[in-house]
Symmetry: C2
Subunit: 329 residues, 2 copies
């Protein structure tokens, strides 16, 4: 910086002013400095700037070390929004999902000097861990359990599940079965809740939910059970991947989808429209979730002390073939 100043014939402070777009710099001086910077290939040192300002313009993201579509898509939303807001993004994948590793991850990011943290790990254990977090650092959680008083961005899982279930019920063929996600995921709980609510409202039996782990494999396993039960005519799968496994199992057992069994998934992954048959599902706008996380987080960073906001995103039912038996038999 001194070199730039010397070459431009000004003081280092003037260089700093040019760098930070201060108003009181004469146009001619400014361009001389800019030329000088380019000439020397000067790059400002962000560590020094962070040290003196106390702001790193960096946010941390704690994500699951998985390739699940939802978390990955949310991650991209966060990344993009942060870039637009001129913040950097520091990621930490979670090796395991107990509260200790969550706290470790937060501590890691805190030491790295992030100004806020987005947690994309919608597990009960994560939420619990966040309860006794160092409160000195702004945090936004994706799909947190509602009990917490931390800021969060939530997709209304229950509503989505309810819509999906109602849709299946509207075909009028008895109750709807459910392949749930892992019990310790808040999404699973929300979807079970919405599913139950819809069944209760329709005054039909609530069959015992099966539990998977979001993978196609686990959906397949559940499907092998459900396919054997002749009374099963409609299944709401906890996500699209499990729905895929489910479709596969039903196919193997010769249960026609949608004519004999209707299936609905959750997420609307890009492939869902190309399953056999194309999958009716509940779309979540993950990028929007990411964007809102960043908005809330930066809000907290730049004006601290405000009440933790909770933002709710509404999912949307996307109807495709897997739930709509052909009218012409």
């Amino acid at each position: 910086m001194m070199d730039v100043a010397r070459l431009a014939g000004v003081s280092h402070q003037t260089v700093s002013r040019v760098l930070n777009d201060h108003p009181n710099v004469r146009q001619s001086t400014r361009s001389r400095v800019l030329w000088s910077m380019r000439e020397l290939g000067y790059r400002p040192n962000s560590a020094a700037r962070t040290l003196v300002t106390g702001h790193s313009r960096t946010i941390g993201v704690i994500g699951l070390d998985s390739t699940l579509y939802g978390p990955a898509a949310t991650m991209h939303g966060v990344d993009d929004a942060a870039r637009r807001a001129d913040y950097r993004v520091n990621t930490v994948g979670l090796a395991s999902i107990d509260r200790i590793s969550v706290l470790e991850a937060v501590e890691r990011l805190a030491t790295a000097g992030v100004e806020g943290v987005v947690v994309i790990a919608p597990l009960s254990s994560a939420s619990e861990a966040l309860a006794d977090l160092p409160t000195d650092i702004p945090t936004v959680v994706v799909n947190a359990h509602p009990e917490s008083d931390i800021a969060s961005v939530t997709v209304d899982q229950a509503l989505g599940a309810q819509r999906a279930t109602e849709h299946l019920l509207s075909a009028g063929r008895g109750t709807v079965w459910h392949v749930a996600g892992p019990a310790n995921w808040s999404e699973s709980k929300g979807r079970i809740e919405g599913w139950t609510r819809a069944l209760d409202a329709a005054r039909v039996d609530v069959p015992p939910p099966l539990t998977g782990d979001w993978s196609a494999r686990s959906g397949y396993e559940a499907g092998r059970v459900l396919a054997r039960l002749p009374e099963v005519s409609a299944v709401f799968a906890g996500n699209d991947h499990m729905a895929l496994g489910l479709l596969r199992a039903l196919h193997e057992f010769g249960r026609a989808v949608p004519d004999e069994v209707a299936v609905v998934g959750f997420d609307d992954i890009p492939e869902a429209a190309y399953f056999t048959p194309p999958l009716t599902t509940v779309r979540q706008d993950f990028s929007e979730v990411g964007r809102r996380c960043v908005r809330l987080l930066i809000g907290q960073i730049e004006s601290p002390g405000e009440a933790a906001e909770c933002s709710v995103v509404t999912p949307e039912l996307v109807v495709r073939r897997s739930s709509t038996p052909s009218k012409i038999p």
Copy 2:
């Protein structure tokens, strides 16, 4: 840090020594300092440390802003390996994929003070952009075009494609068609090359490849074309998602898989085993790719001036139903 020193009754330098595990600190002093740190909730300031040491212990990752499985999985591999090596990870998603945004992204990371960059954007444009990169910063590219002299980690796409094609040919039913990925991806080129090589070796015709964009949708479109051609009996899809769309189209046109048409994909995404029918595909070990990237990068960072290494990962054919007609008709 001064506060910690005062509370422990030592100088700030001794605190620093404890922090950095210097040998010459008496055990009793060390524990007094550690206690003092805990008491005050002290966190070292990484900006200050970076400023004085000149090392940020941070690597940058430039990734595609997509939810494609491969890049996401590689990303996780990088993240994990970096954490183990006690490096932080700074991500930048690429909004668009021209050379200008690549350079912008690198510049962004350079300003953020990263010590090296991993580029997970296997496009020709990206590779070209990297050619005229600021050379002052270590870089590793995933699946770079071989012409470059930058360090890279590459999956032997051609070999994988060749294996896949040979496998399809071995069933002995004429030539193998190909649904390629986008022309500007190096993966696409490698796979086309391997496919062509296998066909040439077997002295069969090389049909014109169709081109998709990796999405299930584009695979479906290609499938609608191929399904109409009665001579098509074996298709090698450029990735599993396109294979999914392809399967869907073949199914719609009543072309039985695998009995009438055999299909092979590429990647081995976790869902591939649950397609209808389960998909034969070529597995790439993406986490391994990520790990090697970090290894190479840290090698460059910690001992600069060494020749840029190029690491090659060998893919593996995974045979499932989609390419193996039932022996008992």
